[in-house]
């Protein structure tokens, strides 16, 4: 029973920290040992040290047209555009659907039908319609980021007390004013939670889009490295993708907590 610590009090934090440190050492040690021993060639599995070295080298020397930061900037620019567009369209539409049932009844079936198509399946049309430079990837990001924006704004608007809306109406507020001053603040906690989910999906769709059609960006860099058979560059790209994704998530988690503290429970 000693193994199962769920029932009793958890083991002391000091012991757990030591175990975590041991786990990390074991993981990286094993990886390094396998890579260095030559059991697997460096063309297959570069050591963790080699990956870090490659990432360091790429931040100065360009690969596939740009340095690592150049590619990251290109990716982040597209991400910002697609994500911003999704929020700009999705949030007002969601709020309006929460407010007017007719709009809800009209848009819901179309939205539900389209939602089953994986965002990445839009890549061919995105490339045909908007090209492979910026427009195409932005559309794929939009396809990934749009649904959570809309759904959470809709749910948030539904949770706003009808009394408040009716009170604003009695005092003579118009439709737009009710949306901006009653529904938006009321739905804000739910909207910010949706934005976080949406950012994760957008970032992931961006990488996918860049793997398939792009001429710059972190996904493009990785796919070029793949055709060059240089897994160290691929892994350096994965590292960069992970770090940026994690940073975005942490930032939006903070925003979520701040909004919850200010505007009440979701």
């Amino acid at each position: 029973m000693a193994f199962m610590t769920l029932a009793g009090p958890p083991p002391p934090p000091r012991q757990l920290m030591l175990l975590s440190a041991a786990g990390a050492v074991l993981f990286f040690g094993l990886w390094q040992a396998i890579a260095v021993s030559g059991a697997v060639s460096a063309e297959t599995l570069p050591s963790p040290v080699a990956v870090l070295e490659t990432a360091w080298r790429l931040s100065a020397a360009p690969f596939a047209g740009h340095t690592l930061f150049g590619h990251l900037l290109a990716s982040l620019g597209r991400f910002g555009m697609g994500f911003g567009l999704a929020a700009l369209v999705g949030i007002p539409l969601g709020l309006a659907m929460g407010r007017w049932r007719l709009l809800d009844d009209i848009v819901s079936p179309i939205f539900e039908a389209l939602r089953f198509v994986a965002p990445l399946a839009w890549v061919p049309f995105a490339a045909l319609w908007f090209g492979t430079g910026i427009g195409g990837p932005v559309m794929v990001i939009f396809a990934g980021a749009f649904p959570p924006c809309l759904i959470n704004a809709y749910r948030g608007a539904k949770l706003v007390e009808v009394r408040l809306v009716e009170a604003a109406q009695t005092l003579g507020a118009g439709g737009l004013r009710i949306m901006a001053e009653v529904l938006l603040p009321g739905a804000l906690p739910s909207i910010v939670a949706g934005l976080r989910v949406s950012a994760g999906l957008a970032w992931q769709s961006l990488i996918g889009a860049e793997l398939i059609v792009a001429s710059a960006g972190i996904g493009y860099m990785m796919v070029q490295a793949q055709s060059n058979l240089s897994p160290a560059i691929v892994m350096a790209g994965m590292l960069a993708v992970g770090v940026v994704g994690l940073t975005l998530d942490v930032a939006l988690r903070r925003a979520e907590r701040a909004v919850k503290a200010r505007w009440g429970q979701a």
Partner: protein
């Protein structure tokens, strides 16, 4: 729309006059109205589609296909085939890969989640590796999988495994930690050993969360497979999409997109059905 019932409930308790006034009959009228408007909306979209493409030609055939072109492409891939196989062969090929990858992910992810859930020590040891892997989106594994395993089935299964593994582990872990401690204590007082505790208390208690994880895993599996096949494949629906894109064949793109959507929805339904049978007490 999902969560509507929930939101309606909240609306009623919040003192919504409209919701309070509506009784059972009112709800039925409302549901019928909703259905009618929904159908009208879909029909309207279809008419608009026809008008914009075949009717007026505002959207040219290189941009988006007309309904008739879509149907012709469907008949073509269904009977003669496209990109190396008929629609059924391509669809089955992709579905088989999703199922294989998904099953491998469940078989590894759920036990690992259980292990990390029941033992704080195991969690502490495994967490560093897991924290490193977790923020990397599954799609970012595609180039590495291709470098390692080439463009064949093995690379696809590896990528789907990565995609479906993380949600399985996290949700199983959350489920185990969410099991009522009083139940565990009660089972122990009554003399349940660790295996019995696991099998009869912890696993049933965490099943709802495990299934939430499985649904997320399945969605991730489809997205990842489509992406992986678009990056490079010999066969499958992503290959159809890619070939149609290169041939500038919008009708075939729409057929492939629709098929991916339907298969995704159908497999999600299968998981929901399994959930309903395995945990009847939830609904």
């Amino acid at each position: 729309m999902q969560g509507l019932q929930q939101a309606e409930g909240a609306r009623a308790t919040a003192g919504g006059t409209r919701a309070r006034r509506a009784g059972a009959a009112g709800r039925r009228v409302r549901a019928n109205r909703r259905l009618a408007i929904g159908l009208a909306s879909l029909a309207g979209t279809f008419v608009l589609w026809w008008l914009l493409t075949a009717g007026t030609g505002i959207v040219g055939p290189t941009r988006f296909p007309a309904p008739a072109e879509f149907w012709a492409a469907f008949l073509q891939i269904a009977s003669e085939g496209y990109a190396g196989g008929t629609l059924w062969m391509q669809a089955w090929y992709s579905t088989r890969l999703v199922i294989l990858g998904f099953l491998v992910a469940i078989a590894t992810g759920v036990p690992l989640g259980l292990l990390m859930g029941v033992s704080h020590r195991a969690e502490a040891v495994l967490n560093p590796a897991f924290l490193l892997v977790r923020p990397i989106p599954p799609l970012a594994w595609i180039p590495l999988a291709i470098v390692w395993l080439g463009l064949g089935d093995a690379a696809k299964i590896l990528v789907i495994w990565f995609a479906a593994f993380v949600p399985s582990v996290i949700n199983t872990w959350t489920g185990v930690r969410g099991v009522d401690r009083t139940l565990i204590a009660a089972a122990r007082v009554h003399g349940a050993g660790p295996w019995r505790l696991l099998w009869e208390v912890i696993i049933p208690g965490s099943l709802p969360m495990i299934f939430t994880g499985l649904r997320l895993s399945l969605q991730a599996s489809w997205t990842t497979l489509v992406a992986a096949e678009l990056v490079g494949a010999f066969f499958g629906l992503g290959r159809v999409l890619d070939t149609a894109y290169r041939d500038i064949n919008p009708p075939m793109i729409t057929v492939a997109m629709l098929t991916v959507g339907i298969l995704g929805a159908a497999t999600t339904r299968l998981v929901a059905e399994a959930e309903r049978r395995l945990i009847p007490w939830r609904s």
